[in-house]
Symmetry: C2
Subunit: 436 residues, 2 copies
């Protein structure tokens, strides 16, 4: 079915520096792609005439923009949201997170993933990059809910023999999927041996997959990698030949100039996770500096244990504010540039060619979000982009389209009974906590 | 009319360290005050029997807590929301903010204040401290919308002769008001002479008013005060006898140990504004240190030019995250302590005795907020306080009571036509920008 959005304030994310960022007009969707982006009423009339069965959505007073792309999360960890906060790291992991995870089944993970995807869709996220275990079970979840997903099968030295077969199973399950792709996701350079880091990369080469890992997140990681390999995580990974345009590096906080140059040169997508970095005191990533060096910076929420939500609009706001604070420069990471990280740059991180995703442009994949600006906190509208990035809330997202399909309609999510989902989640959590 | 909230997850903010923070129970309101806080069904039955006309609100799956207290804002600046972002400070003030303000009328200010209060009420703010001009015109606005307000008449050396008569007018207009109090609000130690700082304080003594000013917000302020008076803003204000329990100091970023000791000893209420401080690169206030020193720290949003919204839940989240980041201590400013800043501490800043405001307790003023937790980003509920502070959104606020009156009912705000308000605001902004 075709869709026609009319009277929208369109924010295409394609404007050159000297052009206006928004225009009032219409956007048409045909199949999986955007087929019309226009301010011309005759073009709209022609689109209507060519698609007599189209669904028309009046977007007067609303902003229409590309869907947001969350490049790092552990969506199934919604089951552990607020389970353990305000604790020291090792106590947190040893007493709470790891015992909880050890008791989870693949069904639990699929359920946590469902809740996480529902939260993301309702907040305007149309693509996400995940990193967890039992990802083979999550292919179906992402497909059913209709979100674009890059599912990274997370492994450590301790569980690589279980995860790599899961990864190959996931690749089979995602074969032919328009929405879901699989990635190898070794945890980090300090928890996975060089040999095992390479085994994941070999599978990537075999199947044409993305590769993702945590890079330079904590001071402890820097110390361990220096002690063990005499270098930084970036240089260690690069020496192993692991960094390229199909690599996503989460965090990249403790990177020096040479590390940044390597990330930029190899085309690694950096996933900046400001709220997680703040909440668990990891440090502040040098985002402004990485952007100046030509690195591909994107934004992720990380998991709900260290955030504690999956709200990308809030994450963008924090990204901008944190850079302005940490650099003492109020001009750092302006609103529009921040939004580019979660659209244009996120699409590149997922491997899409320019113009293919992350923009409102003729021929691009139809991943679109409508944001209601008729709210007290979004008025007046001197600057729609500033209002969106500095004031917009997940709850302002009204309609979400992924791959041409309406998945959130007037804030209702297709095919999900929310109260039943909350009950299932509560039951699962009760079982996990009481399980021996 | 009496109100009865039943089946709520009650968060009274009165728990001692070894008690649970929440309980499932009921809260009754009679007139302006809370008259029942109980988990006992017979007490609820008795309250029902004694108030046959009561409004009963079923709060199953919802959190009931004291209303949030925003201790520093410039609410009328909503008219300038996103008018000028991502700019250098002096360009921002000279080219945008000051020319806009010079063209505003008292009617415009009252309109901007209306929009700001509406936004705050919908986000669970039941009391706010304002600092702007034409506050005499805003007494009626706050009264009409039913929010508790401490309105600070802001003056500089340049306009003190106009503002002090306005202040005395405001005092007359607020006489007998249950909700509105007036304060003198000299802008800062670097923009108001010692003599004029003292003239405001004299009026405070004469009428029994609060006093508020910006303190140690920027490095420039520190330099100017050092050059002019050879000391810090805190010590300069203290030497003039201006600091006491009826003083609110906004920001307090660049304070050293001796400044902090003075703020604590004098009982000054510090208003921490983390989002503004980040967005305009002012610095990071040493909140954890101030709390350890016994200072009364509270939270404010500041104005919508440097935030750009008036969302206190988001401000609390940022306060916690920023402290954890800046101190490299993930245990800094835990969720419950952060919420105390905006409830218990905020009430003290406004001059209320312990137990009078900012708590859900028998006999306290009935300023209450109901937050819906049946949302994907608030599930599951391992810890309701963490969910509220780390995941809660303004849009989750469902019902708001101020002084015993329901002012937000199922997210509808009593007596305000929102689309008409947006049109009025757009018209006013258009006039202001085009005015010569």
């Amino acid at each position: 079915m075709a869709i026609l959005f009319t009277n929208a304030t369109v924010l295409p994310m394609t404007a050159a520096a000297d052009q206006p960022l928004t225009f009032t007009g219409s956007v048409g969707v045909e199949g999986h792609r955007i087929a019309l982006v226009t301010a011309d009423p005759t073009a709209v009339e022609a689109f209507r005439a060519a698609h007599p069965d189209l669904r028309e959505i009046d977007c007067r007073g609303k902003l229409l923009l590309p869907g947001l792309i969350n490049t790092h999360c552990h969506a199934a960890m919604t089951l552990q949201r607020s389970y353990a906060d305000d604790m020291a790291l090792m106590e947190w992991l040893n007493d709470c997170i790891w015992p909880f995870e050890a008791r989870q089944t693949a069904d639990d993970v699929a359920l946590g993933m469902t809740l996480g995807i529902v939260e993301m869709l309702l907040g305007g996220v149309t693509s996400f990059v995940d990193m967890y275990y039992h990802e083979n079970r999550c292919v179906e979840v992402a497909e059913r809910l209709g979100i674009r997903a890059l599912l990274g099968c997370n492994y450590f030295d301790t569980n690589i023999e279980e995860v790599l077969p899961e990864l190959e199973d996931a690749v089979q399950r995602a074969a032919g999927s328009r929405l879901v792709k699989i990635a190898a996701a070794p945890h980090a350079a300090y928890t996975v041996s060089p040999e095992n880091l390479l085994r994941g990369k070999e599978l990537c080469r075999k199947y044409g997959l993305h590769y993702m890992t945590h890079i330079a997140e904590t001071r402890d990681e820097m110390r361990i990698v220096a002690e063990r390999f005499g270098t930084t995580p970036v240089r260690h990974l690069d020496a192993l030949g692991l960094l390229d345009e199909r690599t996503i590096g989460a965090h990249c906080i403790w990177v020096d100039d040479r590390d940044i140059a390597i990330l930029a040169e190899r085309g690694v997508a950096v996933s900046h996770n400001p709220q997680s970095n703040m909440k668990i005191s990891s440090g502040v990533a040098p985002v402004a500096k990485m952007l100046r060096a030509g690195a591909l910076v994107t934004v992720g929420t990380d998991g709900t244990c260290s955030n504690n939500d999956l709200d990308m609009l809030e994450e963008l706001r924090t990204a901008a504010f944190l850079q302005k604070s940490a650099t003492a420069d109020p001009l750092a990471l302006p609103a529009y540039e921040t939004l580019r990280l979660a659209t244009v740059n996120g699409a590149r991180a997922l491997g899409f060619a320019p113009g293919e995703l992350g923009v409102v442009a003729d021929g691009a994949l139809a991943d679109l979000v409508v944001v209601d600006m008729q709210k007290p906190h979004m008025q007046p509208i001197h600057n729609a982009v500033s209002n969106l990035v500095y004031c917009g809330k997940a709850a302002d997202v009204e309609t979400v389209v992924v791959d041409g399909r309406i998945v959130v309609d007037q804030r209702r999510i297709a095919g999900v009974d929310l109260p039943a989902l909350y009950r299932e989640v509560a039951d699962a959590v009760g079982r996990i906590i009481s399980r021996d």
